[in-house]
């Protein structure tokens, strides 16, 4: 009997332990500031890890959790994005939505220098750290938690990049060129001084392609998601505002459809 009880206890402990892992992705990276934290060996990288949400049973890829310097540097901050500071839950509990860390960003940016590109944060599926499949045909939605530090509403724009289609580069050209009647950006409003979980359904994700005559057409739905390069959020350039805009960002998830 004792043996059976022991086995049950072990099973419970194991389950609890696994659930804990599922709730919060375990990263073998020390928080010790004296450890050069992006010098991990290849084997320690978290490749292709799908997480199960304990509460809902949904599965998702965690593409940005910003738990430490190493994780934060695996995200591409583009078009003069600005300054990124790591935030810890122990110091600013209300500025972290998942795990122990998030980032605080101060946006710079100048679209004129950047070929009409807005400052953007790019959650890539193809870098060596995540090494995910680029096939997101089964994507349900992409979510990102953004805290708008301004006391006014701010817009952010979601864009889908494929391996060969850089939506950020084409975003405004498509809008302004009369030959292209499509926009590929989904615009979301961030409420002032609060967190917004931006939720982008897979159905609205799209990009533009061109046929042999040069005519543009939209690719959307699972067709658009079979070769994802990155999920991107862009922001206003810094110089448009008297003081640079600031945000906290955390918890980028790509939720997959139930199997």
């Amino acid at each position: 009997m004792k043996r059976i009880i022991s086995l049950i206890l072990c099973a419970i402990l194991l389950t609890v332990s696994l659930c804990g892992c599922a709730e919060k992705q375990a990263v073998n990276d020390s928080a010790d500031p004296k450890t050069p934290s992006n010098r991990l060996e290849l084997g320690e990288r978290r490749n292709n890890v799908k997480v199960t949400d304990e509460a809902t049973g949904e599965t998702y890829y965690l593409l940005g959790d910003f738990e430490n310097y190493f994780e934060a540097t695996q995200i591409k901050y583009s078009a003069d994005f600005g300054k990124v500071d790591l935030v810890s839950k122990s110091e600013q509990a209300d500025k972290v939505t998942n795990g122990e860390g998030s980032i605080h960003v101060t946006i710079s940016g100048n679209e004129s220098t950047w070929h009409k590109r807005r400052p953007n944060i790019r959650f890539s599926t193809t870098n060596a750290f995540f090494n995910l499949t680029s096939d997101f045909s089964d994507l349900d939605r992409f979510t990102l938690d953004i805290y708008n530090c301004q006391d006014y509403e701010v817009e952010t724009r979601f864009l889908l990049c494929t391996a060969i289609y850089d939506a950020v580069t084409f975003e405004d050209r498509i809008l302004t060129n009369p030959n292209y009647e499509y926009s590929t950006a989904e615009i979301y409003t961030l409420a002032p001084n609060s967190w917004t979980t931006v939720e982008v359904p897979a159905e609205v994700m799209r990009f533009v392609n061109w046929d042999t005559t040069g005519k543009a057409y939209l690719v959307s739905g699972s067709d658009a998601l079979s070769a994802v390069g990155a999920f991107v959020f862009s922001f206003d350039r810094g110089e448009l505002h008297e003081t640079p805009q600031e945000f906290y960002i955390d918890n980028a998830r790509a939720y997959m459809k139930s199997e």
Partner: protein
């Protein structure tokens, strides 16, 4: 036990004994775990070389030796070889003392060298680096200790780089200090000696450099920061290594902010160029649509010109335009035509800007300064397009105003260099390295020989290339798809097809530092750029005498790289050549050297002429006092069949110094210049069926004729066209004994490159060397005879064969053939 095993054991014993003795050769205090030795900054050893470097170097390099000038930073390396695992070490350097003068320890920076694993190398032909753990990143020693990077595994090397900085006020002299190593409780010391010459580096012009950070994306993800402050940290650090980048500016604040930055940095050491800011929103200029916003660019140039007038500083003289997002490395007609349109519009914009400024300033006090100083600069701000395009395309498409910037290897022959320079005297010639070239040419790749990058500034000096360009310095993105590199400290160099290309710095954020960390390649570049300034000091001294320093420098250049731009890989030889330059300047300033006015090396004879720096100097040759001509010039003719160098004594006051000018390597033996058909018969034969040899006036390297060889191997399928120099020919006289090499000049009259393989024939062919003979020029072909280890009896060689591509018909001319005797025979 077999004899083989016994031999192997003896070898191991010998190696151990050597390593032990290496340790004992160094003055240590209580330590036996490390073998220490000193190296200049021009070498790098694999971390895991099996103790080879320690065994060969430690016993003879028991101190750290540096030679430098005033107001310079120069590096030296401390090498450590671990005889057991080392858990922690630290390195400190004392003040350096010379009498009452001191170089304080605060002027000395110590860096730990980190190593990167190379699975493959871009330089498979390079015997120095076949792959392995190669040093490159430099981490401040205190940070390395703090982050636990200071460990050494048993049997590994660990290098430490020590940067020493002098000021303009540092007194010349020999400074001494001590390098102290603590390792797992043991302490070691090594002497550090620094000779400071009485030469101020600022007396020489800086080499103009164009190093870039194309955009802040390149470093932003690794640093988590693309702010102006971070951009300035990168910019300022790169300046310290003589790497001038575009100003840290992204358009915010407009022309006013841009001018503010220019005013701040214009006088910084190392700030030698800046790319004019431009935006790509597209615009119309002079009725022509262009991808570049030229009206906005004009506003910036206008603002800079006005600041120049206001400050009486010509800020535009370091400016250049490079529309890399519009046209880069043109290759096809469409790109050349677009380049032409952009270049023409750009210069029209400059002229229009000049007119605007003249109108604005006329009648003011500033007008004359503008017209006299700024205007000409403004209308000639270079527009550069790098690329290995043919110079004939530049002429064909009328790109007269374009500043040409070929890849270094595109100018590897004298004819190439002449082609790029000819007829474009009004436009500077730049040079760049990037993805290419690769070994054996120099460049900024991580897996190249450490000395390699240092040689480029020397080439810039010799060939009058005004500017060196490197497309990026701090690109922590994968070049293929622009995504972030997971670990820039390791991965960016090991996984790239051209490791280190565009990636010279390392992100400091990894180690909690604000701003980038440097690399070994940056150090070697900096020291090379400093050499360029020293070369310029010598040039100025010669110019003051109305002479060209190239005459003196030719011999030094050839110690550093050959005429084909292949660097010498022997660091000791480089160090000796550099010291001879420093000594030459020092002695000229002291009046105890000579200014060479002519050194002409012919096929059999050389002429040498010089003027002593001091009018009171006495020149003695073989114990006899010499007499100069009426203009004070000493002139001598030297028979190169009797001597390979010229040696004389120079006495100034009570001080006599012996000077040697090496003219050729080895003494000439037999010489032939093919002036008669008899000369030809004495020398060359061929046994292919369709062969015709004659003495021709078509071309001549020496005299008025040369030997013309027409080899038609196509007539007999699958044969190799060749001709030969036989041992029993009149030229050789039946024996090769005592000869070091055979050399000749061969002319290729065709429009195509001709491949040549030179071999010796015993009872089989053995290749001695291969050559490419560029079209339309004479190429020196020199082959060295095999050593006694390679071939026991050199007279087993029946002939030296000159072989061309199989099945081809080839016509070449040969002239100035000579045997060169071993140096010992002199």
């Amino acid at each position: 036990m077999t004899a083989k095993r016994l031999a192997a054991l003896l070898c191991v014993f010998a190696l151990c004994a050597t390593l032990c003795s290496c340790g004992n050769a160094v003055k240590t205090a209580g330590g036996s775990s490390l073998t220490l030795w000193g190296e200049s900054s021009g070498v790098k050893y694999l971390q895991n070389d099996g103790g080879e470097a320690a065994a060969s170097r430690a016993a003879s390099h028991t101190s750290l030796e540096v030679s430098m000038v005033r107001n310079e930073t120069e590096a030296v390396q401390l090498m450590m070889y671990a005889k057991k695992d080392i858990a922690e070490y630290n390195v400190t350097v004392s003040d350096l003392v010379c009498g009452d003068s001191i170089i304080p320890s605060s002027a000395i920076q110590v860096y730990d060298e980190l190593y990167q694993q190379f699975m493959t190398t871009t330089r498979p032909g390079n015997p120095d680096y076949a792959g392995g753990m190669i040093p490159d990143p430099l981490l401040p020693m205190a940070t390395a200790v703090e982050y636990g990077e200071t460990t050494i595994a048993k049997g590994d090397n660990q290098a430490v780089l020590i940067d020493i900085t002098t000021t303009a006020g540092t007194a010349a002299g020999l400074y001494s200090g001590v390098v102290t190593v603590t390792a797992d409780g043991e302490e070691y010391t090594l002497p550090l000696n620094v000779k400071v010459y009485d030469i101020n580096i600022d007396d020489g012009d800086e080499l103009q450099t164009v190093f870039a950070i194309l955009d802040r994306d390149q470093f932003a993800s690794a640093e988590l920061d693309s702010s102006d402050a971070m951009a300035e940290a990168y910019f300022e650090m790169l300046l310290k290594y003589n790497m001038s980048c575009p100003l840290p500016f992204e358009g915010n604040g407009g022309a006013e902010r841009y001018v503010e930055l220019l005013r701040k940095y214009y006088h910084y050491d190392g700030f030698t160029s800046y790319r004019l800011y431009y935006e790509t929103a597209g615009s119309v200029y002079a009725g022509v649509g262009t991808n570049v916003n030229l009206p906005l660019m004009q506003q910036y140039i206008y603002a800079i010109a006005m600041a120049s007038v206001e400050d009486r500083v010509n800020y535009l003289d370091k400016a250049y335009a490079y529309f890399y997002t519009d046209v880069d490395e043109p290759d096809v007609e469409e790109e050349f035509l677009r380049a032409k349109e952009t270049v023409n519009l750009y210069f029209q914009m400059l002229y229009d800007c000049d007119e605007m400024l003249r109108s604005e300033l006329i009648g003011t006090d500033d007008y004359h300064y503008y017209v006299d100083v700024v205007s000409d600069t403004l209308t000639n701000i270079p527009d550069v397009i790098p690329g290995s395009y043919d110079i004939n395309d530049v002429k064909h498409y009328g790109l007269d105003r374009l500043t040409v910037c070929p890849e270094l290897s595109a100018m590897s022959t004298p004819a190439d260099r002449r082609d790029y320079a000819q007829g474009r005297d009004f436009v500077d010639l730049w040079v760049y390295t990037c993805w290419g070239p690769v070994y054996p040419y120099p460049g900024g790749h991580t897996d190249d020989t450490q000395l390699s990058y240092r040689t480029i500034p020397w080439m810039c000096d010799e060939f009058n290339w005004s500017t060196y360009l490197m497309w990026s310095t701090s690109d922590y993105l994968w070049r293929e798809h622009g995504e972030v590199i997971t670990d820039p400290w390791g991965e960016m160099h090991t996984g790239q097809p051209r490791p280190g290309d565009g990636k010279l710095t390392y992100p400091g954020a990894t180690y909690g530092l604000k701003g980038p960390c440097p690399s070994l390649r940056m150090v070697t570049w900096r020291d090379g750029a400093d050499d360029y300034q020293v070369l310029n000091i010598l040039r100025r001294l010669y110019e003051e005498k109305g002479l060209d320093a190239s005459v003196a420098l030719d011999a030094i250049y050839r110690e550093i790289y050959d005429v084909g731009l292949i660097p010498n890989r022997d660091n000791d030889r480089f160090d000796a050549a550099r010291l001879s330059l420093l000594d030459m300047i020092d002695n000229l300033k002291a009046g105890t050297d000579v200014y060479y006015s002519e050194v002409a090396v012919g096929i059999k004879e050389a002429t040498i002429a010089f003027v002593p720096a001091s009018s009171e100097a006495v020149v003695t040759l073989d114990g006899k006092q010499q007499t100069p001509d009426a203009e004070g010039v000493y002139r001598f003719n030297i028979d190169l069949t009797k001597q390979s160098r010229f040696v004389f004594d120079l006495t100034v006051g009570d001080k006599t110094q012996t000077y040697t000018r090496q003219l050729i390597n080895g003494v000439l033996g037999a010489v032939e210049s093919f002036e008669t058909i008899g000369d030809l018969a004495d020398c060359i034969v061929s046994y292919i069926s369709d062969y015709k040899a004659s003495v021709s006036e078509d071309f001549a390297h020496d005299g008025v004729k040369s030997a013309k060889m027409v080899l038609n191997s196509a007539a007999v399928a699958d044969t190799v066209p060749y001709f030969a120099i036989e041992k029993d020919s009149a030229l050789i006289g039946g024996s090769w004994k005592g000869l070091d090499s055979l050399k000749a000049y061969i002319y290729n009259p065709s429009d195509e490159m001709i491949n040549l393989s030179v071999s010796y024939y015993t009872d089989e062919d053995t290749t001695m060397d291969v050559f490419e003979l560029p079209s339309g020029q004479w190429t020196l072909v020199q082959v060295t005879f095999p050593s006694a280890e390679e071939l026991a009896d050199i007279d087993d060689i029946q002939e030296i064969d000159f072989n061309f591509d199989r099945g081809q018909s080839v016509t070449v001319y040969m002239d100035s053939i000579a045997t060169v005797k071993e140096v010992a025979a002199e």
